[in-house]
Symmetry: C2
Subunit: 105 residues, 2 copies
């Protein structure tokens, strides 16, 4: 999933389809590459769950999936939390080392 977000074109497709739905060919029109290339990007994003496609006649409507974004966020939140835990441990160490008559900062 981070792998899917690693490409600038794909991030832009996510942004665009999060803002408003678009067909694959509409998307393809926005980028300076072949239709097939864009279609592959969309496939990668769909694989990663960042985007979903639904058919309307011969076209496929692409829609960004906010749920997947939230999953990525929660992963980063975990990182944040791990780091905070380390800071807490350091604080505890410092506290244990602080004389009783020390002033609170």
């Amino acid at each position: 999933m981070f792998r899917a977000l690693a490409d600038a074109t794909r991030r832009d497709i996510v942004r665009r389809t999060l803002r408003a739905e678009a067909t694959v060919s509409e998307l393809a029109g926005s980028y300076d590459m072949s239709f097939a290339a864009v279609q592959k990007h969309v496939a990668v994003l769909e694989e990663a769950g960042l985007v979903s496609k639904r058919p309307r006649g011969r076209e496929r409507i692409v829609r960004g999936n906010p749920e997947a974004i939230r999953r990525a966020q929660s992963l980063l939140d975990q990182f944040e939390e791990i780091w905070r835990a380390r800071i807490d441990r350091l604080d505890a160490l410092l506290d244990a080392d602080t004389p009783n008559n020390a002033k609170e900062r």
Copy 2:
């Protein structure tokens, strides 16, 4: 930067060094690959700003950078916000379509 986070080993290095500092060889001991491979991963992470290195004698101490994590988070937050804006626009449309005597949900 998402590219740097796209590899599982690298994500683990970030986690580990966010929790506590570690030398490159300590890290290398944790993974089933050559020292050089791990060293390259650390280099990629450093390039992306996700990790910083400082020398202590002949070793290099690696530390995860919470600031970079926050930058990634804020990027995902932007996605979230874009999506919310779309929902707001849809709501506005529905409101405009709602007869005056309709009940509030």
